[in-house]
Symmetry: D2
Subunit: 387 residues, 4 copies
């Protein structure tokens, strides 16, 4: 472990906290090929970023992302800003020879995503988009089972990502509800996750037909954009137009003939962060619920006929048996949301040392963006669209 990798992280809110934790925890639990230094945290608000530096465990703070990506001390740039700045930062970072880890969705458009992928390839840096759900141990196990052929030919990919955090009409118009900053609503925020899982577990999408809808089209303004959960007074106040989707759903098919049905919504009361995912093949089926993320359900049609049933696999067995989870605790001791980031960062660090591609790459992010854009186009035109 001769090498040291110094990280500069841009953005320090929800994702910044999750990534900081991952940079801090990965070396404690995983055998990394490099020593990691949490070098600089960066954000626009000087006081905010200083507080975050102290709280999250970074050595330095900066208010200028260009300074960070240009610094010769920095090896890795980790981008956690709102979606509209991903492209500019990532391209510049890559051009400066930094390895880049970027939050999802990769960009606001296919054009941006393509630029990012091009820049990363040209600079020969290691690039990764943070679709952290690939490294939920249950999903990694799903991938293993599918790769081994346990499902046979895949017929169905059915996924629903459901949340409920904006059902309240008084929830304010934060940046995630403004198209110029976020690109889209549920679509780019959470549909992108189940699109990525579909690409990872099943294959490439071929064509799609989608529907995007906004249930509540006017919301109170927040004085301070970015304070997502801010409460505002109940007195007369200004409102603004919601110009992103509250729900986005589409049907379609994969190149390999499997049928796709994906739905993302922020209007499903009681579903906090629910992914209901099912894959059916000619030999077996898999089911997964993100709110019970330590479990994978597996139906094996080769079992004796009198005792077939979905197996409820508690994915907590030692490494070598089940992926990632054995680095943590003994069997039956479950993991949480944040661990997926630790696994992502651990794999990314090792890839940076090996200088090998690590999935999901910016190319994955680009392909994801193509699906996102195809669905948007379809929702607008009312027609099927080839991806």
């Amino acid at each position: 472990m001769a090498r040291t990798l110094r990280v500069g992280m841009i953005g320090y809110r929800f994702m910044g906290r999750a990534h900081s934790n991952a940079w801090r925890q990965a070396p404690k639990f995983f055998p990394l090929k490099a020593h990691v230094e949490m070098h600089t945290i960066c954000g626009r608000n000087a006081a905010g970023v200083q507080a975050a530096r102290a709280q999250l465990g970074w050595q330095n703070a900066s208010t200028d992302w260009r300074e960070v990506i240009e610094s010769p001390l920095i090896d890795i740039v980790d981008i956690n800003t709102p979606n509209d700045s991903h492209c500019e930062i990532a391209v510049a970072a890559a051009q400066n020879g930094k390895h880049v880890l970027c939050e999802k969705p990769l960009a606001l458009s296919v054009k941006q995503a393509q630029a990012m992928f091009n820049a990363a390839q040209k600079s020969k840096v290691v690039h990764m988009v943070c679709h952290n759900y690939r490294r939920i141990p249950a999903i990694a196990l799903a991938k293993k089972l599918i790769t081994e052929g346990a499902l046979g030919q895949i017929y169905h990919y059915h996924a629903r990502y459901a949340q409920d955090w904006i059902v309240d009409p008084d929830f304010p118009l934060n940046w995630r509800l403004q198209k110029n900053v976020s690109g889209s609503g549920a679509h780019g925020d959470i549909n992108t996750h189940i699109i990525d899982l579909g690409r990872y577990l099943v294959g490439e999408f071929k064509q799609v037909c989608g529907l995007m809808h906004t249930f509540i089209t006017e919301r109170p303004l927040t004085e301070t954009p970015g304070k997502a959960q801010a409460l505002v007074a109940k007195t007369p106040r200004k409102t603004g137009k919601v110009n992103v989707d509250d729900t986005s759903l589409f049907i379609g098919c994969f190149e390999n003939g499997a049928i796709a049905n994906l739905e993302a919504t922020r209007f499903a009361l009681g579903r906090k962060n629910h992914i209901d995912l099912e894959i059916n093949g000619s030999k077996g089926s898999l089911a997964f619920d993100f709110e019970d993320m330590n479990r994978l359900k597996f139906f094996d049609n080769t079992n004796l006929a009198d005792r077939q049933g979905f197996r409820d696999i508690l994915v907590t067995q030692p490494n070598g048996i089940q992926p990632y989870v054995g680095q943590w605790w003994p069997p039956g001791h479950i993991l949480g949301y944040e661990h997926t980031f630790v696994h992502t960062v651990a794999d990314f660090v090792n890839a940076c040392i090996d200088r090998k591609p690590i999935h999901p790459t910016f190319e994955d992010g680009l392909k994801n963006q193509r699906v996102l854009e195809a669905v948007e186009e379809s929702a607008k035109s009312g027609k099927w669209v080839k991806v």
Copy 2:
């Protein structure tokens, strides 16, 4: 209970067995307004129908359905034949002044369904299509909760009906896989059920965009059509073209603005008769799984914030509290599939005496058919279709 109603039942296979049981059981458990006589069972095969008569408890057997529907002794005609004969029998029965209970889907086409509804209306008979799932106690409770406003404005109707009985490529080409007899595959057989539940619980469909697909297009022929589960020799044998859908799915919206996502498939290994249904509104959500049909999940957003969660309602409380179920056993003693037919028949019998419409009427069947046909048209044209 002065009156007696005499029933003539056409068709004696799977549905004939289920309906016979309902005619037998309804008077034992429900306070009917008429005495019911299981008068005549009818089928094309003389030996078969005689055996069925004895086994299922009918007084007489016939091989000629016209004889049955014309008999002055018969008050009610109950149609359980394959879908291609529903229309002819039902129209004739109505014209002969018989009350008609008809299996779903009502017909092969909107045109047929319209003719059936017209005939029933003209004759002023009581007419009902056997969408028995409306009378699952949990579904009846769902209807009650929605009617009372417990869900508020409805945003989402998400339903998947999944089975696996033809995943095996050696499963033979029975009547349900032949378009001229069945009209369609998973679409008219099971999508029709969740379309009906959507219309019952949410409202009328406005427009749809669908996809229908056949995974296995060639199957061994069965020598004896109708023997659905027959095993055939593994030696070289004749095969035939499957010309119905293995899966049918569609997205769309309801008149009231709710978003729809429905999927029916016979290719989901491990799902035997699974309906995964979720309805999300502005005040609460409901979820239901047909394989656990004694339960309804209810999320009530008006609960105290620290103790909100989907309630797992075991729908077995006494009548007056929860619908239907209290006629059977004490709380906690669950019901099965066949009970839904008993509830249907009980309500139908009383409606025949009252001469009042009883849902789902042939008009419901007709509207269902319009949705089915709109989805088929959309799947063919690749365009959105207004219902």
Copy 3:
């Protein structure tokens, strides 16, 4: 099917309704070796028994059980009376050469149970105690798996039978709460069921140490004993002493070394008719919940290490594959509480023709009673008691 068996049923309330249904349904769904005639129903109240006769489908009614058991027309006596009369009726019926099916618990005491078993043996009649849960398809499948060795050596039998119907202190003092009629409370009513399942699935109990407790010791009197669910006025009223247990639990061991933990209670709010049962062996485990009685959970330790988990077996596969259930409906179409009685009656009828013992016999009832009595003795003495 040359023979006809004529049934005389004593008692017509809850169990009488369930048994009547079984006698009615068994011939419709199972290939019986005899024709069954529902000959005479018998109860003390003339008007009540006449109404029950008409409602439940019996040919004749009687108010004198001696008349029934002495009638040369009767082949089978089915006893559904309160527990204090089981012994007298069963002994007399056996002495008159009738086959006897008797509700559980077999008797009020070991002494009574022994007398019943002796009488049945001496008369060489077929005798069966109605522990109907043995014929829940999931339990029958559990028995099959255990017999085949799928669990290996059994270590644990852990079962809890929980209800909540008397948590309300205003629930009246019905016959089930009066020791002279019922013998005991939760103990003989529901603990007996999980004792029987333990004996069926694991083996004979060796020694036990128990605890029985009454939470609410005084309750309003019902004017009409037997009207279990009667509502009584809220005005000042007479109360009486509850002299049976509200809960009964014990730990112990089986002859074969397995450890037992059984608990029965009527004071578990939200549990309507809940049996939470788990069996752990050296090769696998089984779990079962009576409120989801169509499912059996099976953990198979011989599965590949990366994909082990409790399998959720929906026990609805065709006969020959899974027991009983295939006589009813296709896979995925679930059964309910009442079906267990149909299965019991069907097996009993065939055994009467074959004149062969059919489990659970009166000897099983006697052994069950020995466990019940050992627990009662232990609860009284505060000591371990050998069964």
Copy 4:
């Protein structure tokens, strides 16, 4: 946050890793009243403790626990050693004026536990036994609901802690299976947890009657005691006597009249770290499963009768609404096993600054030990024992 607290941690294996993580994470996620320094890690093996120091993030390493507890630099001593050394270390630490956090079970005997509590009281240090499950958010919420009266009078406490890690007869005789080091088997290791939860949620135990059993009495020896999971060659090898329990169960009652049923086992195949816990009261019930530790099931009998059911509360709402969990991630983003230690450490640190008792104190550990010992005595004598 003027103060700094310096921690010395004794023992660095499983619990040492979990505690190190807690010391590292607590300041990042919780507003602590002191700055925490991970000052010294201590263990008997010099190489081992040095490696652990580097991996787990401690400043110094020591092989002499006396040095640590005597060091004027150390404020807090955190004891994670095998059970046989808890007493000596804790007493010495307290006598040296250190605040003490000690792993469970507190001691090998009531006598030891009493000595520890006495020493801590005399020195007026803050003392806590690490029953970390009290700070599972779902358990903390259960405590809140019970305290608010949502359950009314409690009737039943039923808990089963089931694991399967020694079902394999080849699993070696590690320290947890040797009485002189561990004190007992499943009893002190995991029964102690559900005893603590019973005391926390329900009240003090009054009397108990127990059973302890060893299924496999001879096991291969491990060369290197302490290497719990070591694999040993399959060739002829030495074996040793297992002198602790594989399972420990007891029935009993609480001072307040509630009935107790507790079972701990390491022989339940498929159960990795399963706690199945249910509490029933006069107004409601709670259920909890440790393998789904982010959920609490709550039955509220005051709900409308037609919609009662166990609520599946995903305990991930913001702080102020639900305890602890809001310090981490947004709703629906679940936590894992290790977080319970972070919550424990955070509360302990603040208590050290406030110099106030923090539950569970050594007195709780002592009372727990009294229950453990009463069960052991009962299992030996076959008699009921007062706690």
